[in-house]
């Protein structure tokens, strides 16, 4: 007999071991998220996927689905909190979309469009962050990093190279590179590595590909992130 949870009034089946996010995705339901990618072990850090389960707010990407859960997802209160989290991500980094090659294909933008973000609302930090262009094929622009650890996970768990890591904590958190020089060009990272492909923002970009598709014809110019991420593709 299949087990079910209820998400926004809909009965959603799940299998043992699945998270609420897994069950929702399998059922074609969208829960906004940035640090989660179903190809990797959940990280649970961005908190965008927070849902209300039987009265308590939890991260749906790490919360195991269990019989009897009443889940609230697409409600005004949670979407307002998701919008605030997204706005904080925008002001904590330097996200200048008109100057970014990833614009239109960026999940941070996609989520912001979905949530109807009209402005970043908070005062900008304009932090000083390092750009690393030392690698011949890959650009690392820390101005756009949101510390989702997808490149860390991909390099460690898929590529077996351990190129990336996060250091320090809180607002001091930084993305670092595993080389004595600290430079990407001195690592074994290749443009074909999973780690070079998974960045949800424009922090890690494969060089000479930036304008292969013109601005205005890109993924989130034409489709909502909800449609893209419930349609099987996770680009």
């Amino acid at each position: 007999m299949s087990k079910n949870i209820i998400i926004d009034g809909l009965t959603v089946p799940f299998q043992e071991g699945q998270t609420i996010m897994d069950a929702a995705m399998a059922a074609g339901l969208y829960i906004p998220h940035l640090c989660h990618n179903p190809e990797f072990k959940p990280h649970g850090s961005c908190k965008l996927c927070t849902v209300n389960v039987n009265g308590r707010n939890v991260a749906s990407c790490t919360m195991p689905a269990a019989e009897g859960q009443q889940v609230l997802n697409d409600i005004a209160e949670l979407n307002a909190e998701r919008l605030a989290l997204t706005q904080m991500l925008f002001v904590e980094g330097n996200h200048l979309c008109p100057a970014c090659e990833k614009s239109g294909n960026c999940n941070l933008q996609g989520v912001a469009y979905y949530l109807g973000m009209m402005s970043p609302h908070y005062n900008h930090f304009y932090p000083a962050r390092e750009v690393d262009a030392s690698h011949p094929d890959i650009l690392l622009d820390r101005n756009r990093c949101i510390y989702c650890e997808l490149c860390v996970r991909a390099s460690r768990d898929v590529d077996g190279k351990n190129v990336f890591g996060l250091t320090d904590r809180g607002i001091m958190t930084r993305l670092i590179v595993n080389a004595t020089s600290g430079l990407l060009g001195d690592t074994s990272l290749a443009a074909t590595d999973k780690a070079a492909q998974v960045c949800p923002t424009g922090a890690l970009l494969v060089k000479r590909k930036g304008f292969a598709v013109p601005i205005g014809s890109r993924i989130f110019d034409r489709h909502t992130i909800k449609d893209v991420q419930t349609g099987g593709s996770h680009e």
Partner: protein, 180 residues
């Protein structure tokens, strides 16, 4: 509502006038718009100071003391103030200088770059005082509505203006909302 026309003012602070160009891209709809609105201070009328207005559209961020004076004049005179475009909303491309020392920036532009006679950093007392960082306008005055985009599409301008003229809360369609 009285039968007087709705008064609209516009300006560009630390911007490139691209948003104004996009506003003009509403093309022949401008004729219909002019039946309903009259322009106060804008680069189109060349009126130098903003008088009492219903709607103010502000392009560009705040990069110097003069920008703040103009912005405060707009806020004082406009019932509804709208931040138009990426620079007004995030600082935009001018904010890319925010992590470069201002003096280094000036030297690069006026001294090291060839072509300027004398090669000196301008220092006329009439020049507005530049700020060390560029800021979006909502960090300086209260903003009522935001129109994102670099520039916002003409259709987004049209939607904003027609919604405001009809007393509706402005709401953009998905394809009108973008940050680039």
């Amino acid at each position: 509502m009285s039968d007087r026309k709705i008064r609209v003012a516009t300006c560009s602070l630390a911007g490139c006038f691209g948003c104004h160009m996009s506003l003009l891209d509403i093309d022949e709809r401008l004729f219909g718009l002019l039946e309903l609105v009259e322009f106060n201070r804008t680069p189109l009328t060349d009126i130098k100071h903003c008088g009492p207005c219903d709607v103010g559209l502000v392009e560009g961020g705040v990069c110097n003391a003069e920008n703040v004076h103009v912005l405060k004049e707009f806020r004082k005179n406009c019932k509804i103030l709208v931040a138009v475009g990426a620079c007004a909303i995030t600082g935009g491309l001018p904010a890319m200088r925010n992590n470069i020392d201002l003096w280094d920036c000036f030297q690069e532009v006026y001294q090291y770059e060839g072509g300027l006679e004398g090669g000196k950093v301008p220092n006329d007392p009439e020049l507005p005082l530049p700020f060390d960082k560029v800021h979006p306008i909502y960090e300086v005055v209260k903003i009522d509505y935001f129109l994102p985009g670099c520039p916002p599409p003409a259709d987004a301008f049209w939607r904003l203006l027609t919604d405001l003229l009809n007393g509706r809360e402005p709401k953009l369609d998905y394809e009108m909302l973008h940050y680039d």
